[in-house]
Symmetry: C2
Subunit: 175 residues, 2 copies
Amino acid sequence: MRRIAIDMDEVIADFNSKHLKVYNHDYGDNLTIEDLKVGRLEDIRPHLASQIIDYLHNPLFFRDLEVMKDSQEVIRNLSKRYEIYITTAAMEFPSSFNAKYEWLREHFGFLNDMNFVFCGDKSIIHADYLIDDNVRHFDRFNGQGILFSAPHNLSVTGFDRVSNWQEVQQYFLKS
Amino acid sequence: MRRIAIDMDEVIADFNSKHLKVYNHDYGDNLTIEDLKVGRLEDIRPHLASQIIDYLHNPLFFRDLEVMKDSQEVIRNLSKRYEIYITTAAMEFPSSFNAKYEWLREHFGFLNDMNFVFCGDKSIIHADYLIDDNVRHFDRFNGQGILFSAPHNLSVTGFDRVSNWQEVQQYFLKS
């Protein structure tokens, strides 16, 4: 059975909407997902960069992210034909371990939690496919990288790309 | 640069000594490492198995394990010639995430924490070597498994075996 590794933030967990919401609320701003096409939140509001990053060190930040549209249904379907692993660079925010684990158990409880991986450098991942929004993880990955569209990667070329979970389903149904 | 993945418990972290110590203290018993050659603690005291396992769900249990003799020095030496990743099946005890991370930072702070991996099924690990005390992790591992001796695996045959960290150093210096 072939194996698909799947990133969390911006792929199955709607990181940006939560980050924008807490930032806009606290600083009276009105930034939208559209604004993130020119850079990450901390890049377009550099004078508040440290505060913007600090949100991510809150142990609860990652606990109540919305689930990305159709991801549960499509992953459930794919899990019948592929081994599914969730591979997240949680080492970048060690305070997020528990929230990420509980989030996965709540929203993707149909997966075996022995298939959850909290790592940093994803070249350690042994899989046939990696669905991720960060192309840096494809550099030394030994399988096929699949770029999941996110505001920050829309201008990146040279990778297989999917824009949503319906496209992920089509990608694997045809392969 | 070739890559070595290294397990934590019973390989770099002295799990058994701590487990025996808290159990012996709480139940007035006198079991030793020698006794574990016939089975794991919960197997040789089955009437207390649930309490014995419960220790491992304490978020602090893994925080103050002793470092296995010579492991720091040898891993520091190996890290000059190999990529070192620490790969632990932390998903078996999710309450251990923070303790394990802090322990690694304290005792193996010379490693990049992007090279720490908390997983369940280790077939997801992409490495040339895996040093582990549990042979089940070698089943679907795509590299060379190296069995690190522990009381529970002394009768297992069919694998490259090392009994301590000096032997690990010899294994890699000659290869």
